[in-house]
Amino acid sequence: MDDDLLSICGRVVKAGEGLGAGEVEVFVASQSSIEASFENNEMKMAKRTVSSAAGIRVFRNRSLGFASVNSLDPDRLQRALKEAVALSKNAPADENNGLPSPRPLRAVSGLYDDEIEGMGEEDVLGRAQSMLASASRVDPRVAVDGGRFEAAVGKKAIMSSLGVEGSEDFSAIYYDIGAHAVDGGNVSSIDYRFDGTRVMREDDAEGIAVELANASIESLSARKLESHVGSVIFSPMAAIEVLLSPILFSVDSNSVQKGISRFRDKMGETVAADFISVTDDGTFPAGLSSSTFDREGVPHSQLKIVEDGKLRSFLYDAYTARKGHVESNGHAAGSPRSVPSIDATNIFVKPGGKPLDDIISAVKKGLLVQRFSGRVDPISGDFSGVAKGSRSIEGGSLQGAVKETLISGNVYDVLTRMNCLSKEIKRVMDFQLPHFAVDDISITGG
């Protein structure tokens, strides 16, 4: 089948060269997925999706043209190719445009699991049913709003007129669940959990369902908090939203080259507390964002982004690499349906030395923030939003849930004066990270 995808790519590349397209790149994928969903404490439905897609990118005299189609039908591919070539004729030229040269690809393990391929509709329905049952069993007051379990397998391939060539099989499961709790007229805040993995042995669908159900019950007794300046411990989920997303924005070479990255002239300098190390690794075995090659056919690697608080690298694709006079480090991302964009792969934050319980014990007055709903401006670093599903901390012990509580500050400031990281780490999709603790955050009560 891989050969089939590659030969489809080959025919389009050849046809493109025949049309005088200049450089031609074809990225194709075909996928089959089964999804089972639940809603309102009951199984909802299942669905089967068989899909395929092709993205054709051409550079004609350094001008970009791109077209995509959700089919591998030769006629429709030919039409898309012509469309891409036509667009490139009207597009402005850019000296940094162009495809990357081929580089040797190294195998990455754990991308495919036969067990996922073997799952039928009944198996997927069973997994979803089990998530729903696990959450409902925790407490009758839990109202499961919805959720799903999805199993997908597929193949993807890339080929270019410069000689890039790669193909791989992939599998993945994804699951999510949303719930709130109802006790008479008392309705808690809605909360959710999600995760995914490449291999069944790391499936933790019931685990997140139980965790969510417990959190929903806790937030029933939520109370308003007085405004104060206190310590905040960010859960891994809140840390991704508030802390990691601005870091990833700032190491995106696009933000750097546009001059809107806070890290644009900070290479080698301190950008975070000296115990913070962030690594991007697209080769991590069974990582959700692991792959043999990126969206342009460039191999991934293990890349230190921040090491002991110091900025070590930016994320490049072929375009920004050429502009920055460096080599692409394999961060072109995206589906066949759009032109490549820059994104991180699997992100790892090195854990700290203290157990979470000890970190909580050391807090006089503050907040354990489970989820953040609000605005994080990655350019200025200002964040302000509601601490969702969160609990107050007083005199070193965890108190009840809070509601209508805002936290605000500046990420880049917070990163440098971080207090500590927890010893425990948690996986959330393609992130693995600890809890982050920091003092002196403005906490506004309702």
Binding site: K44, A46, L125, H180, I260, D377, D382, S384, L406, G446
Partner: protein, 468 residues
């Protein structure tokens, strides 16, 4: 008059092949163009086409759904069979059975979006130039602009639908969007000005209020103006919300709580039917038509179950009077379906979604409203927002202008508002006469996307303000 009876016949054959209570099939051809320029670089130019058929089957009180990216007769029959089998399997996994579908006014015919300047008649070159020139203008306007970004997107949908209970339609829809964002830096601090518009209509409709260059200039002026703005200290206060924020609160904080699927799972609105939930000045509506001003982005004559769109009052003069339904929840709640079942793509199943959601205008004039405000803020430009099943919301705002004794004063940035939407709407004491749609450039996400719009007049109420 239908233009493609053949396609409808193919779909009909497929749904009739299933042995079931009900089935429907939807064939969708979507042509999408995206153009995006940032800092002088053409970052994206994408012409994409997506076609396929989604088939939904109700059998043994359960649903099954299957989709294929093909229109071959055998693939459609296979998909119908697959959907039927999945419905049977799902039925075994369920404790309860669907009560079936409510009777509805089903579409039988052809629908076409009102379009001035069909998008197909404007060349991609002209669309590309519009984006390139607007972005160039932004960077040229002020040396403090360090980054500018401009993008254009269009969705042209052709849809064919058939159901086993007699509904059928063919539809043409056209929804373009235009966005501009300018970023200024002051030392280490970045400040963005954003202007965006999205409509149901054509090229002329998209730029009927303001052309592309004026839109770009407005984003720059906003960014430059905000550069000089200060940060607010948090606290409860009186505010005047602009139509974009009125739309956002109506959609995000209230609208989702009255979607019947959320109501069934115990959203805060499930306890509110017939009760006073807002000031009597507030009448909150969701409509498939573009009321008051044409071209609202959520405009939809018929939904993806073939139900003709109806205008639904959710809150009438402060009292909750309606929820939003698909045919299944309408049956459960014993009401007429409202036309809110929507699917974004052929491989999405229809779920309950909003369309154009707004608060009816009042009788105040804008200048009188400001003059009448002793102390407060005029909030303009929604940045983003999120809200919960309990109607607790949190929105970020682009500009906050202080009002002191009826006079506009100092400008603030980085402001957020939050609180319970029902509490906020209970404090409404004035709404202006002028009405605008101002949410059409974005999408609503609920597992799948949907083009929606929102708006209203300017509205005065009390909320919790957040600053820095």
């Amino acid at each position: 008059m239908l233009r493609d009876d053949r396609m409808l016949d193919e779909l009909r054959r497929a749904v009739e092949s299933a042995s079931c209570t009900y089935a429907d099939a939807r064939y969708q051809v979507r042509d999408l163009i995206s153009i995006s320029v940032g800092k002088g670089v053409l970052e994206e130019v994408n012409a994409s086409q997506t076609t396929g058929v989604g088939i939904r089957v109700l059998k043994n009180g359960s649903w099954g759904f299957a989709s294929v990216n093909s229109t071959k007769k055998e693939d459609l029959l296979q998909a119908a069979k697959s959907a039927e089998r999945i419905a049977e399997l799902t039925s075994r996994a369920r404790k309860t059975r669907s009560e079936g579908l409510a009777e509805a006014k089903l579409a039988k015919g052809s629908f076409r979006a009102q379009v001035r300047g069909p998008l197909e008649d404007v060349t991609t070159e002209e669309k590309m130039n519009t984006v390139v020139e607007a972005e160039k203008r932004m960077r040229a306007m002020d040396s403090r602009i360090v980054s500018a970004r401009c993008s254009y997107n269009e969705i042209i949908d052709r849809k064919y639908f058939v159901s086993t209970d007699g509904g059928y339609f063919e539809m043409y829809d056209s929804k373009p969007e235009f966005r501009t964002a300018a970023v200024c830096m002051s030392g280490d601090e970045a400040v963005a000005g954003i202007e965006a518009i999205g409509v149901t209509g054509g090229w002329k409709d998209l730029f009927s209020k303001r052309d592309s260059l004026s839109t770009a200039e407005s984003a720059v002026s906003k960014a430059v103006r905000l550069l000089e703005a200060s940060h607010l200290k948090g606290g409860r206060g009186t505010v005047i919300l602009d139509p974009s924020l009125v739309g956002l609160i109506s959609h995000e904080a209230i609208g989702h709580t009255v979607e019947a699927d959320f109501v069934k799972s115990g959203s805060v609105a499930s306890q509110m039917m017939g009760q006073r939930v807002a000031s009597e000045l507030v009448t909150l509506v969701d409509s498939g038509a573009s009321e008051y001003v044409s071209g609202a982005a959520g405009t939809l004559p018929v939904d993806d179950e073939g139900v003709l769109s109806r205008k639904i009052e959710i809150i009438r003069k402060g009292v909750m009077v309606g929820y939003l339904h698909d045919r299944e929840t309408a049956k459960t709640f014993n009401v007429e379906p409202t036309g809110n079942a929507r699917a974004f793509s052929y491989n999405d199943e229809p779920i309950i979604r909003m369309r154009n959601t707004y608060i009816e205008p009042g009788d105040w004039k804008m200048d009188e409203l400001i003059e009448d405000t002793k102390s407060g803020y005029l909030l303009t430009g929604a940045l983003n927002g999120e809200a919960d099943a309990n109607a607790e919301f949190m929105f970020a705002i682009q500009e906050a202008r202080e009002i002191n004794n009826g006079v506009l004063g100092k400008l603030f940035r980085g402001v957020t508002i939050s609180g319970s939407a029902f509490e906020a709407l209970s404090t409404v004491d004035a709404i202006t006469r002028e009405f605008q749609w101002d949410m059409g450039s974005g999408y609503c996400g609920k597992g799948q996307l949907a083009k929606v719009d929102g708006g209203g007049g300017y509205l005065r109420c009390r909320v919790l303000l957040g600053g820095r």
